[in-house]
Subunit: 210 residues, 2 copies
DNA sequence: TTGCCGCTGTTATATAATTCACAAAGTTAC
DNA sequence: GTAACTTTGTGAATTATATAACAGCGGCAA
């Protein structure tokens, strides 16, 4: 049985990697868990514990070797091949998300865009070609995509998700404010902006009384 | 000591409310915890446990009264007054977020926008006036905003956050891929898109092998 | 050398979140 | 009326997550 790893740990590993890249640019060679913890707003124990899953060793006197650790995390997260993703729904949000990933060296490449609007189909959006949603299955299978991003309106999200599954996509990042009903072997992460904002508003108003 | 409530519960309550609004539109008067659970992809026990914090009672035979419950959740989440928020950084993402909240009846109103770009300052963005960031403190204090949204590039997020705190903002929704270093009495929720996408990619590639 | 110091790696413990299990209560069937 | 059924509300158990505690190690000072 494959050792199961929690999504929180994966997310933090990804953050460690980002931090290590920055340290690398500053030509910092070694870093202690305390330093990493402080930069990331977690405890040093948590950093060390997260790194355990990598089987990577630091030195008690120098700390962790920045570049080696970065490489190790990358190997762990990305496996062998670079991850490819597609995005469905090219509104403001879709464009913003593509902008995130076209520029800097993120490990995931959003390499295809889909929409139903004839004004967008066929043209390039943020440097990537925009296809009609009907082409999703053929394009995704050809490029062997495994990740899909849904940035469509709520009422089409479920059907888009089902099309993605048809196209052999195994993980979905969903911005639409709906709960997708999908087979359990598909990994779904929801990014529900209005939900998040309401949560923040709740705690903000609670802090106000004190 | 005020009974502390977790952010997960708050977020789910907000989701229940959204579901109840939909049921209301379908003229459904009563609903069982099982039904709500199924629609939201959680267990019925969790629904009932979450509702415990409201002190709201359902009937063993009819379930929960949809409209009453919706009102109760709204009272709990919003308190008395309607929540007001501002947003800093009006790129694609900023516009997308404003679009979310201008339209339908979300409980939080994004009522002011800020940027540094002279081409945007003074104009209206998605129906809201865009101010220069230097006006943040005066505008926020005047309108008594308690929530801020950061959709600026990473390198300006920290300074924007500090300006928000100067303006008496108590909760921040942060889209920038940085860890904000702020006093502990400020509630911060991060929505880090690239982090989320990398997490999805990891699990997607894991599912691929099986 | 020897004794300390600070950090890592890891086990043990504590806290948080979820699920289980079941008593209490209203409905229906008869 | 009462037995059977269904669902709520909630203590208890379980699982997940984070923190604390500490052994082990390498370097440094004297």
């Amino acid at each position: 049985m494959m050792n199961v790893i929690s999504d929180k740990v994966v997310s933090r590993l990804s953050q460690y990697r980002r931090l290590l890249s920055q340290l690398n640019q500053q030509e910092i060679k070694h870093v202690f868990s305390h330093r990493m913890a402080e930069e990331m707003g977690v405890t040093a124990t948590q950093v060390r514990r997260d790194l355990m899953v990598l089987g990577f060793s630091g030195s008690p006197t120098k700390g962790y070797h920045v570049e080696d650790l970065r490489v190790k995390i990358t190997q762990f997260l990305d496996g062998h091949e670079r991850q490819l993703a597609c995005i469905c729904g090219i509104g403001n949000l879709g464009r913003a998300v593509m902008g995130y990933f076209s520029g800097r060296g993120v490990s995931v490449d959003v390499c295809a865009a889909f929409d139903v609007d004839p004004a967008k189909v066929g043209r390039a959006i943020v440097g990537r070609r925009c296809y009609h949603i009907d082409e999703l299955e053929s394009v995704c299978k050809e490029l062997k995509l495994s990740v899909g991003i849904i940035s469509t309106p709520a009422d089409t999200a479920q059907s888009v998700a089902e099309k993605m599954i048809q196209a052999d996509i195994k993980g979905i990042l969903n911005f639409a404010p709906v709960v997708l009903k999908l087979p359990s072997d598909i990994y779904v992460q929801n990014m529900d902006v209005s939900l998040a904002l309401e949560t923040v508003a709740f705690f903000a108003s609670q802090k106000r009384q004190s």
